[in-house]
């Protein structure tokens, strides 16, 4: 009885419709409630004294003077919290041989990076806590800092963390066999060494947490700016030994996350213990300087890669060596090896070739840890692959688009597998490229480029095809022993007034999760969208689920909502049928009214059904069990991941005198399966592109040789600004996944996945008349001038 999804010609057909976000109104009025804003009675504030050294032993801590300062309620060190909180280790079982030093909220003996929190000072105000922090004296004994990745990998190198035997966190190898032979026999080989800078999320709201331990009930409530409240409920429960049901984690409005706010941070774990020690709420908000030295960073890869081709430009093989430096320990609970693992598995993903070899080394060093941030691994795999494809095109004498047309996996070749073992259900590389070419007026741009070159104006055009991982199954983390859910749950209720409440485990950080869930529920139930209220982000009121990461909100959360709504609709129609003495199968619900499915004649309103069920159950037959709440869980089945794909184009103008690049325009064609809300998808893509362009041109965490971050402020670390960013044209191909009814896949990372690759190709294209090339991002003016031989 279900109408085709995405058909927009029925009442309440919201799937596929651009509608605005109900919850945005509050943010626009300045009525958002971020953790940063929250105030609880008797709330205390914590400031942390941080290590000035990249690597050092803690010799002694003298906090007597600080304890006597005004407003100070507690000064806590590593041993104080270690008595309450068990240590954690960021490894996963399916990453064989992986190792990492155990972590505690505050270190006891050794500090591992400059900026690591060492002492917690809790006071009535943050200013008092900061004043007192200055009165704490810590004697450190400096240890050799491991900073450079080659230094870290050298035999007999100093260790970044004394608790692990050497600096190799994890190594992995993929080999389809016979690679050396393929390269030896190939007509063409192209190769390059790539450098990807460290960068970081810079959410506009820094990390924030407010823990409230109530000793009378033994109950912990944590207001936590995170994407994954259930994960933290589990972690706080297990590491602090509090029964899970006595731990409540609430994630209210969150000022950006992008993966950064789903990791365990020592300060956050400390705040829970500090609240237990004080018996009062304790709040911590990272200031921007602290954010730079304690939020996870991402990327930091050096990739040596080569590609073998036959005569006519057909790709035969890739051979890749990725070395990534992750800081002094692996992040918990998702580890810091996932990015490298995805880099070597996503290499060459859009292309048809069978021979592949890759080596991955994940290396410790004394910097803040890296871990999952938007588009984990994708930008690296994409930039390496796409740059090699462009180099190959030049070598073979093909236009970059023609080169891709020759090598992309054909749209009719699915299902198929990548040489790295990924299973692709159905992708649309060819259609996407054709669409991009038309959208860009590619041939026109090439003609214009040639004409402008005559006049000394150097424009470049870059193309990058990509594959994105979304909707991960337990193959991602669960299999490795991490208690990270791949399923989601929803409780859907018709209220006594006939309104609908949906409590669901996917979470909102502004992407529009609540909106699309509301659209799916309203659509599938047959009620106006305004009557659906979606509630997220509170472990006490929503079922346990994976929440929002790896682009799972629409695909898994949306499907959960769809199935729950269909279940509830069945229940409503059964009650209505009984009231109307009709057959449920002959009824339908439209606009909140139960109607005859065939004629559309209105029979009884949903609110009347609810009134009767809640208040006059005496008028219903005894054997009718009126269930106006349903609970439903959905876990992805079928393919381990729902892959999405797309292609991006970047158009730049390079000033060869100054090395400055103006990004003229950027295009994206992406295929995220069924689109629930085009408006929101486009904005996800645009936001993602800008983060990718930031990485391509501006963003880099720079360290000196002592492991000190030298640009850790918003004045020094360059975040893309409005005036530097281009307009971004977004187009779509829709290839729904058949693994779910809804058919939606993710879209939040697509923009970031390929934007830097397209930019890298565009800049290289602009430099090609000079015989110059670059394989490092960010492409700063200085690096470009160096590539051009000017400096």
């Amino acid at each position: 009885m279900n109408a085709p999804l995405g058909a927009l010609d029925r009442p309440n057909s919201y799937i596929g419709r651009s509608v605005s976000r109900p919850n945005a109104a509050r943010l626009l009025a300045g009525r958002g409630r971020y953790v940063t804003d929250l105030v609880l009675l008797r709330m205390l504030h914590v400031a942390f004294l941080r290590s000035p050294y990249a690597h050092a032993r803690i010799v002694s801590i003298d906090a007597e003077a600080a304890r006597a300062m005004p407003g100070v309620r507690l000064v806590a060190t590593g041993p104080d919290l270690a008595r309450l909180c068990t240590p954690w280790t960021g490894t996963l079982d399916h990453f064989k041989g992986m190792k990492s030093a155990p972590q505690l909220p505050l270190p006891i003996e050794e500090v591992l990076w400059s900026g690591q929190a060492v002492v917690a000072i809790v006071a009535e105000t943050r200013a008092q806590a900061e004043d007192a922090a200055e009165a704490v004296t810590v004697a450190f004994e400096e240890l050799p800092a491991v900073v450079e990745v080659d230094h870290a990998r050298a035999p007999g190198a100093d260790r970044a963390a004394l608790a692990v035997a050497d600096n190799l966190c994890f190594g992995s190898r993929l080999d389809t066999g016979g690679i050396d032979g393929v390269f030896a026999d190939a007509a063409h080989v192209v190769e390059e060494e790539f450098h990807f800078g460290r960068h970081t999320a810079v959410t506009l709201e820094p990390r924030a947490i407010l823990a409230d331990w109530d000793p009378s009930e033994g109950k912990l409530t944590v207001h936590h700016a995170t994407q994954t409240p259930y994960q933290f409920q589990d972690l706080y429960s297990r590491h602090y030994g509090i029964p899970e049901a006595s731990v409540r984690v609430v994630a209210p409005d969150i000022g950006g996350s992008f993966g950064m706010k789903l990791h365990v941070y020592p300060e956050d774990m400390a705040v829970v213990g500090l609240s237990m020690l004080c018996g009062r709420p304790v709040k911590y908000v990272a200031d921007r300087i602290e954010a730079f030295v304690s939020d996870i960073h991402a990327r930091d890869h050096r990739v040596r890669a080569r590609m073998a081709l036959d005569d006519d430009g057909t790709i035969l093989a890739m051979d890749v060596d990725d070395v990534t430096a992750i800081g002094a320990f692996s992040t918990y609970p998702r580890t810091s090896a996932v990015e490298g693992n995805q880099v070597i598995r996503l290499m060459g993903a859009p292309y048809r070739f069978h021979s592949y070899r890759a080596e991955l080394s994940v290396v410790f060093q004394n910097k803040v840890q890296t871990s999952q941030y938007r588009a984990v691994g994708h930008p690296i795999a994409c930039a390496v692959t796409e740059r090699l494809v462009d180099l190959a095109a030049a070598k073979v004498g093909l236009d970059p688009v023609a080169m891709r047309e020759r090598n992309l996996i054909a749209d009719d070749a699915y299902p198929c597998a990548s040489p790295t073992g990924y299973q692709f259900e159905a992708l649309s590389h060819q259609a996407s490229l054709a669409k991009l070419k038309a959208m860009m007026d590619y041939d026109g741009l090439r003609a214009e480029q040639a004409a402008l070159r005559q006049r000394g104006i150097h424009r470049g055009i870059g193309i990058a095809s990509f594959v994105e991982i979304s909707n991960p199954s337990p193959a991602f983390y669960g299999i490795g022993g991490a208690r990270i859910s791949a399923q989601d749950g929803a409780i859907l209720t018709v209220t006594p007034s006939g309104e609908v409440r949906c409590q669901i485990s996917v979470t909102e950080q502004g992407q529009g999760t609540e909106t699309i869930v509301g659209q799916v529920v309203a659509d599938q139930l047959g009620v106006p969208r305004e009557r659906v209220r979606v509630i997220t982000g509170d472990t006490e009121t929503t079922p346990h689920g994976g929440a929002t990461w790896a682009c799972r909100g629409a695909g898994i959360g949306g499907e959960t909502a769809l199935q729950a709504a269909r279940k509830l609709r069945g229940n409503v129609l059964a009650i209505a049928a009984s009231i109307l003495q009709a057959q449920a199968g002959e009824l339908d619900m439209r606009d909140g009214v139960v109607v005859d499915a065939a004629s559309g004649t209105e029979r009884v309103s949903l609110s009347e059904v609810a009134r009767i069920a809640y208040f006059r159950s005496d008028t219903l037959p005894r054997d009718l069990s009126a269930q106006l709440s349903v609970a439903h869980h959905h876990a992805p089945q079928g393919y381990p991941f729902a892959f999405t794909n797309g292609v991006q184009g970047c158009h730049v103008e390079l000033d060869v005198e100054t090395g400055f690049v103006k990004i003229l325009k950027h295009w994206v064609v992406e295929d995220c399966g069924r689109i629930i809300n085009p408006l929101l998808v486009d904005e996800q893509v645009r936001g993602g592109v800008v983060q990718g362009l930031g990485a391509a041109f501006f963003e880099e965490c720079r360290y000196d040789e002592n492991g000190q971050l030298t640009n850790g402020s918003l004045a020094d670390y360059l975040v893309p600004m409005a005036c530097e960013m281009p307009d971004i044209v977004v187009g779509h191909i829709e290839t729904p996944t058949a693994d779910t009814e809804l058919g939606a896949k993710g879209c939040g990372e697509a923009g970031t996945a390929a934007a830097s690759a397209a930019a890298l190709n565009a800049v290289n294209d602009a430099m090609s008349p000079f015989g110059a090339r670059i394989a490092q991002i960010p492409m700063t003016p200085a690096r470009l001038l160096k590539a051009l031989g000017t400096i």
Partner: protein, 169 residues
Amino acid sequence: MSAHLPITLSVNGEELTRRVEPRETLADFLRRDLGLTGTHAGCEMGACGACLVMLDGLPVHACLIFAVQAAGATIQTVEGLTESAAIADLQSVFHTRNALQCGFCTPGMLVAAHGLLSRCAMPSREEIRDALSGNYCRCTGYEAIVDAIETVARRRAGEAASSMAEEPA
């Protein structure tokens, strides 16, 4: 940590007298002392624009001035601009155009846009992008924000034109 000082100022149309620490920024004063948490702090060094408020009719960074310096001033925060409906059209177009995601930059963006449109009625897209250069947004990629401001400028110009046309000759 020196003694608190009394200040009197107007915030969102209300005259207030409060005692503040000399080192307290206007942003902290608004957020903490007055509970006006619509003004956000993203960097506390004048770089991100999340803390913009109108001070005597001009956008200023509330993180860069001390509360004591605002004595005698007239402040409008996003809450006040909302109540007075001064930015209602901006808010409504931001909403329909989805010119916000997490919303953390949004109050500052609205204040910046309000300031821009009061000094330049019909800015070009480049001028809008330039005017937003002190406002970081990490979520949207800016284009929707530029679109929204451009739309409001056009609408205001259209309304101004049609109200002029309606004037009797």
